[in-house]
Amino acid sequence: MAKHDTPLLDELEKGPWPSFVTDIKRQAEKNPDCWDILGQLELSFRDKITHWKHGGIVGVFGYGGGIVGRYSDVPDRFPGVEHFHTVRVNQPASKYYSTENLRQLMDLWEKHGSGMTNMHGSTGDIVLLGCRTEALEPFFWDLTHEMGQDLGGSGSNLRTPANCLGQSRCEWSCYDTEEACHHLTMHYQDEIHRPAFPYKFKFKFSGCPNDCVAALARSDFAVIGTWRDDIRIDQAAVKEYVAGNIVSGGGAHAGRDWGAFDIQKEVIDLCPTECMWMEGDELKIDNSECTRCMHCINVMPRALRPGAQQGASICVGAKAPILDGAQFATLIIPFIEVSAENEFENVIDVIENIWDWWMEVGKNRERVGETMQRVGLPTFIKVMGLEPIPQHVREPRSNPYVFWAEEEVEGGFDRDVDEFRKRHAA
């Protein structure tokens, strides 16, 4: 039985799509505290203001993150949500679960919390919504001791790293995303569990430029698989695709008849750098122009494969809109080897180079992408000790001035003025 009248929220149950109101009502039948989520939200809709209070000091002993404190500012009317803290649980790599694990986790959350979840948060964590302060430690004990799982990051911590399923299932993965994600998660436990920076910092790992974890858009540090030699072509399979004997796109978009496969229209004409052509019945690629967009490979997976010299590109500085507007990460390192054999040492070097600089130069609550924007890419590239390359350039220059650093000028900026005046009287 509903505890509060919620005519405004009930509107959100109409229509054919899923409704969070219906979900919360269903959970409230099990856990009556959840009626107060709806009651308070209905009040917010009427008052046109939130009744949640942000911030504070909740957490579990020894950790400075993983729990986000939330309280009701009308606890007398809605005691069920007086405390409604959010708990972030580090998801398993690639989000592989057994049903047993999920059931155990839900039993635990119904015991200690509201039973409400968000699978998954945009960072990747399992987000458990709604817990009282005094239930946090018992929950944490059971999570770590009974389930062997841990909290993720929040606040100014390194946030829970996330990865695509990589080589565990995907033939396109150019490095072992799961190993990289797991290794760096373990390597940076201190940074994940305790605040480490002026603001949040996120890693994400995708095995190829399809970027299934959207690392490019969602992480300060995106490691995206790529190759540096040529796309591998099986010309016999190309002929099979052209003849219609192999279905294109691995059978995707099969719900409708799109007509016979047309390699010119569906692959060659859609190559963004126009670097493909047919010579008779052979497919040719000018690999020096290929931008590794994955389109041709996605359409003809049995004929085309990423090259054999595999590694990753590193892009830095994506963020969501809170301050200056959303931005994608910028390509910084076009190719780096990513290998468990050296314990990801070269990736770690790049990460720590960025951290050392950003912790010093970044302002409070400034994401690294904003710091980069503020100082400009040329400065950032110099900090990283990199030579500029054409891939760093987004557009032709619109600033006519050239600024030289002293070390770039022969003889430096000191000169003999008397010598100069002999030739050019003042």
Partner: protein, 81 residues
């Protein structure tokens, strides 16, 4: 000779006690020893939390540090616990 860890920690405690606002960003502590790398100051700040000299205060997206006694005073007013 640079400052010892204990000297830096003492300067950090003093800063957190006297700063106009009770909550400080980790960057606010960098000046306690300009010679130390930011990551070292961060580690000392987290050490002070372990010792109970500082506590975390978080908005959810950013984490700050404060002297526990200064925060408890604030909370009395707001009723947050």
């Amino acid at each position: 000779m640079g400052m010892s860890d204990d000297e830096i920690k003492a300067a950090m405690i003093e800063k957190a006690t006297k700063a106009p606002k009770p909550q400080l960003y980790v960057k606010d502590f960098y000046k306690c020893d300009p010679e130390s790398k930011p990551r070292k100051i961060k580690n000392l700040a987290n050490d002070l939390v372990k010792q109970g000299e500082l506590m975390f205060w978080s908005s959810g997206s950013t984490t700050m540090y404060a002297r526990p006694d200064r925060i408890k005073d604030e909370e009395g007013d707001e009723g947050v616990n």
